[in-house]
């Protein structure tokens, strides 16, 4: 990996000019000038000797200044790194960056361009400092600069800074991208200092979590000018094991800065702003949540389409009505346009969206969905609450700091409450991000027209049995035992379903299902001009045919990788049911193929069948994973139920089925398997489930027990013995 500075948060930089500009000289003085307290930092402690690299000093700066509507946003980072091996040398041996860039913030302007400044020096083992002449040594191609660092060796220290100055103009309130990060990074950091510099009209939300130091104010002599710092020493390098949410486990910090020139703009800002610029906002009270959203979630939207759809239909109760409306909207405001998206992408028509009329509704974010759906609920006098929630990887609702982290959905207060969230093409009623499950939430409700009440609540949590992958595998040997045939029927429901639907359902697999269910017109039906209609139809058919071929090839490769096979033959794939109209309905497909060189081992006149491998890849823990010290954060409880049917060849019996029975079950989950022989078939049922979406580290050993049992099952074999 090389150091590549892209436009991601802070790390986007470039330089200007051949000779040093005033800005370059200032930047150099700022980082490496006489006030540099780290110019002599060269030693690492013994504890770090076996590391690849150690960051002696890391400094991040965020400066926000303005003149009226003109904002100057300056960010910079400096790292002073001791390189201890070739891997680190390789990583820091090449840099690439852009000199100039156009800001994407505020109003669009051709005039103002941002610029970046880069400084790099090397400190040799003997203490000799060599500054790289970046302007002279970097090579430019199409505005992108590349620099190979001269004279860099293992044992050297590389000390570099990147400063990005981004001027832009914003009349209205403007929120900078939030930063949410762990204190640590890939290498250990011995000393870290983060500085903020702001003045009036800039509002800061900032908080530290999981033991990270707090942001502290540094006194300044100017009234409107404020400086803050966060300082930390000896930060461990990050390790991200499986099932881990770093932002709630290891020291981290989050912040967002908002620019708002007056009270009017402050009110309009979609953010939980501190009361005044000189206050660093650390938490958000529920009253503030109510205040921000009371006007923003007013029911609003054209729902004549739903009205038309409801015409002549009878519903037993509100529940049925809500469910029918949700799936109809999912089609009318989303899947109805999917063909057009493909047609646009494939350039079959230059503006396929024009065929949908002059102002079709296309719901594209959570907030629009809430407004639209509540308009429907209001018209039908169905009571509801707006759920304000936060994903588990980001901390609890009590740690709310940044508005962008809020997820909104609806709790509809029918007899059995219904939850609905902004839909994707396959989202079902009562389906919302599993990362919200079981979290504390705020519930907003309105007594009349205005949202005026906020209460705490909790979202329900799904069970392992609700999130299920069911797999029926039929395994048969060829007559000469040199190969086999596998047929599987895979069924998914609950949270395990949607990813599979995205992966396996292509345009023609589900869009036409919706057209026929709702008796709506397909894209081609919308085209009036005959010539165009014929052209689009032909080209769309050709596109679908191509996509289907690619799909089959892709699924074949997935099957090969799942069963660890090479070169399977006669692969077939068929969708049995799309499972798109209910969280509990199964998405089911059938696959079959023939393979060789796996599962069958010759043993004299007999055969050993590696039958356990048919439950496919299980988690195989290494020593480091077994010694896990972190808590376990998973997405949702889930279950995997397999039925394996092995057709016993005539003239053979089976030995060793006793080894196929396992039962490890505890409060964290289970692996249970049973085997029996019926009608000359060996039938094995296995069930693996994860009971919860979270386990404290104290329960890790319990999880290891059932994970190991499942993995051991994959190693189990039976003997096929000649009678």
């Amino acid at each position: 990996m090389k150091i590549k500075f892209l436009i991601i948060t802070l790390l986007s930089f470039s330089i200007t000019g051949v000779s040093q500009t005033k800005e370059e000289i200032e930047a150099k003085d700022f980082f490496w000038g006489s006030n540099d307290a780290y110019k002599n930092a060269i030693n690492i402690s013994d504890a770090y000797k076996n590391e690849s690299a150690v960051i002696l000093y890391k400094n991040e700066n965020y400066d926000f200044h303005k003149f009226g509507k003109n904002v100057t946003y300056k960010t910079s980072i400096r790292k002073r790194i001791k390189l201890l091996d070739k891997a680190a040398l390789d990583e820091f041996s090449e840099f690439s960056f852009k000199k100039r860039f156009r800001s994407d913030k505020g109003q669009y302007s051709w005039r103002k361009k941002g610029n970046n400044i880069v400084g790099i020096k090397i400190i040799k083992k003997d203490g000799n400092e060599i500054e790289i002449d970046v302007n002279a040594e970097a090579i430019e191609v199409d505005g992108e600069y590349k620099l190979a660092i001269s004279n860099l060796e293992v044992g050297d220290i590389i000390d570099y800074y990147f400063q990005k100055t981004e001027p832009f103009k914003s009349t209205y309130a403007f929120g900078f991208d939030p930063i949410e990060t762990t204190l640590g990074e890939e290498y250990p950091v011995m000393d870290f200092k983060l500085y903020f510099e702001t003045e009036n009209d800039f509002f800061i939300n900032f908080n530290s979590y999981n033991g990270a130091p707090e942001l502290k104010e540094i006194p300044t002599d100017k009234k409107n000018f404020r400086r803050y710092t966060l300082e930390a020493v000896n930060i461990k390098k990050n390790k991200f094991p499986r099932w881990f949410f770093p932002l709630i486990e290891i020291p981290s910090y989050k912040f967002q800065v908002y620019f708002a020139r007056s009270g009017k703009f402050e009110d309009r800002a979609l953010a939980f702003l501190p009361e005044k610029e000189n206050i660093i906002k650390k938490t958000v009270l529920k009253e503030e949540v109510l205040e921000l959203y009371d006007n923003r979630f007013k029911p609003d939207g054209y729902i004549g389409d739903v009205k038309d759809f409801f015409k002549g239909k009878d519903f037993k109760n509100d529940e049925e009505k809500v469910i029918a409306a949700y799936y109809y909207m999912r089609h009318f405001y989303l899947t109805r346009y999917i063909e057009a998206i493909f047609i646009d992408e494939a350039k079959i028509s230059y503006n396929p969206y024009s065929y949908y009329g002059t102002s079709p509704v296309f719901i594209q974010d959570q907030k629009q969905f809430i407004k639209h759906f509540t308009e429907f609920l209001k018209r039908h006098k169905i009571d509801y609450e707006i759920v304000v929630a936060k994903k588990r990887f980001d901390g609890t609702i009590d740690d709310l700091l940044i508005e962008k982290n809020v997820n909104v959905l609806l709790k509809i207060k029918t007899k059995n409450p219904i939850y609905v969230e902004h839909f994707g093409p396959h989202t079902c009623v009562n389906q919302y991000s599993p990362l919200l499950e079981g979290t504390d939430v705020y519930l907003l409700s309105a007594s009349k027209n205005r949202i005026d009440a906020i209460n705490k609540g909790k979202l329900p949590i799904s069970s392992a049995s609700q999130n299920e992958n069911k797999k029926e595998v039929t395994f048969s040997l060829n007559d000469d035992f040199n190969g086999f045939e596998i047929t599987t029927i895979d069924s998914y429901k609950g949270h395990l379903k949607e990813d599979q639907q995205y992966e396996r359902l292509y345009l023609s697999d589900y869009v036409y299902e919706d057209y026929s269910k709702y008796e709506t017109k397909s894209f081609v039906d919308l085209v009036k001009r005959k010539k165009d209609k014929i052209k689009f139809e032909k080209e769309l058919d050709a596109l679908i045919s191509k996509l289907n071929d690619k799909q089959k090839e892709k699924f074949k490769k997935i099957a090969e990788s799942e069963y660890e096979l090479t070169d399977i033959e006669d692969y077939s794939f068929k969708i049995n049911s799309t499972g798109r109209y209910g969280l509990d309905s199964y998405f089911t497909y059938t696959e079959s193929f023939k393979g060789k060189n796996a599962f069958i081992k010759k043993a004299g006149p007999n055969y050993i069948i590696e039958i356990g491998k048919l439950i496919t890849g299980q988690i195989d823990l290494n020593e480091e994973q077994r010694n896990r010290k972190e808590n376990i954060h998973m997405y949702y409880p889930r279950s995997y139920n397999n039925e394996i049917v092995f057709n016993i060849p005539d003239g053979y019996t089976i030995s060793g089925i006793d080894k196929l029975s396992k039962n490890v079950s505890n409060k964290t989950g289970a692996f249970i398997s049973k085997a029996k022989i019926e009608n000359n078939k060996l039938i094995i049922n296995t069930s693996k489930y994860y009971e919860n979406n979270y386990e404290p580290n104290a329960n890790w050993n319990l999880m290891v027990n059932f994970l190991d049992a499942a993995n051991q099952f994959t190693n189990e074999k039976i003997l096929l013995k000649k009678k």
Binding site: D142, S545, Q712
Partner: protein, 639 residues
Amino acid sequence: MLKPLYYFIFISLFSINSFSQKKVEPTEDDKKLAKSLKDIYTDDTVVLENSEDIITFGLNIKEQKVTVNQIMTESMINIDSRSDIQKYCFYDGQTSIEEFKINYRNNKKAYFFLKDEAYTSNDLFHNDVRVKYANIDFPLLGYRYNTHIKKTYDDIKYFTQLQFFNEYPIVKKTLKIEIPNWLNLELKEINFEGYDIKKEVSEDSKRKLKTYIYTLENIPSAFKEENAPGPSYIYPHILILAKSYTLKDKKENIFNTTQDLYNWYSSLVNSLENDNTEIKDLVKSLTAKANSEEEKIKNIYYWVQDNIRYIAFEDGIAGFKPDEAVNVFKKKYGDCKGMANLTKQMLLEAGFDARLTWIGTKRIAYDYSTPNLSIDNHMICSIMKDEKPIFLDGTEKFNAYGEYANRIQGKQTLIENGSDFILETVPETSPSFNKETYNYELTLNDDLIEGTANKNFNGESRTSLLYNFDTLKNDKKDAFLEYYLNNSNTNIKVSNIETSDLSNRELSLNINYNISIKNAVSKFDNDIYITVDFDKELENFLLKKRKTDFIFSFKRFLETSTKINIPSEYKISYIPEDINISSKNYDLSVRFIKDSNNIIYKKSFKIKNAKIETSDFEEWNNFIHKLNNIYNEQIVLTK
């Protein structure tokens, strides 16, 4: 995936030009043709029904250079339901693309946006190659486009060859070369055997030129196979040997002989200043304590390998001219030429007769008998000892003095010799030089197989392992060794790993460790079934559907021995049958030996010439089938 709302708000005013639809849509004949082509070229999506290159030459009198015009026209047809491809053409500092047109089948212009980007490659830090390209879509079966590209070369030196093959199949390929009488140019036909290439030669006394027309029909698409020989071995092509031109009765040599090529290379090298003042101290420190001449050379050679990072710059003349040694020394990076020059200058400082040496790696089929810039691609350093060269390749890592990487073995080199040059070939080594030996001494211990293991690596098997180990992060090195030794199989536990010095490139690499294997023993009734192989080398080496030789990175020789001690109360009731095969390219065998309470399982795989040829495939695949059967067999012990 979803497009933003503005798509719905800004309704475009223009719709498709349907007036021309009929004229660009495929005809019934085209659809039929597309289907019949798909029957032949099942894995392809687009076919070039016609592809013609017309080459003409000019003379830039001012610059004294012969220029080249290459006009490439293609008529493409889609043989799939739909295809989306990129039509592209590369150029660089010596070439330019003057025309790039894409038309519908009715020859009306198709408006595809033409992009122009720098070509980037992970292997090259910086180069001057750029690419012009357009993303073009064929919405229907039988859809056609015609393309026309005009590329010019400022200097004939850089126009090195003409190809018949393309990434798409071609129904008819024509190469038309018009050679004016003032130009002495040889069209060297390479790999024409087995192809029905027609050649017509005509003379036009009026235009004072000779026209060569080569045609080849029904050409499949270029092979998309990994580990294939370099293209110059497998495709028919024409090597352009630009020998000389005559202007006003005066003959000027281009690359008339190898001496001309050497003269040009030499002129670039001689223009270097090579002020070695700054490297003198280093050379002194590296050689001061050396006990022999050889040790001095080694100290310098290894210093370059270990301390100079390989970073490739290919920009104009920098693609041919080495960087100054002192620059490479100061920067601590360079390309092969810079590293060769630094090695040479350091050795000169130490008093040795070191020379720059040009070479085409094994990927290139040619030697120096056909002077042309595409015959070499690498530079090393030679040190003359008893009038024989010892080759030093600074780009290699962990390469011991006197050992040569497979990629240069057997290749002819062009060695500096003042105004003259020397041609010498890099010696080949035998597979034994790279021998890997694995020895397992194991005991069956209830459900476990336990014991000790030894792995020994030599030659390039050693070099690659040492290099990989060296590039790992310090804190990942121990874990890597375990992972490497247990083949990332958690059923295999390795412990007490002892290695030879992993920084010493001259020693054979030796690893001893303890091993414990679970889930390799199954007990059914009174019998024990044992899986005996955990490495399964060559397991997936079936060379099916392949059309080119399979090339190994070096000559392989692996010998493994697994001795399993079995409990005395058991007898061996079944062991698999031995297999072996021998040919000019390989010797392969697997043997099982019963020895009182031991089973000894031996494998010997020798790939003698680092390749399996297509003519070997049937026999080779038969062996691999049998080998896989053994890997899928169990040893059976009965009480």
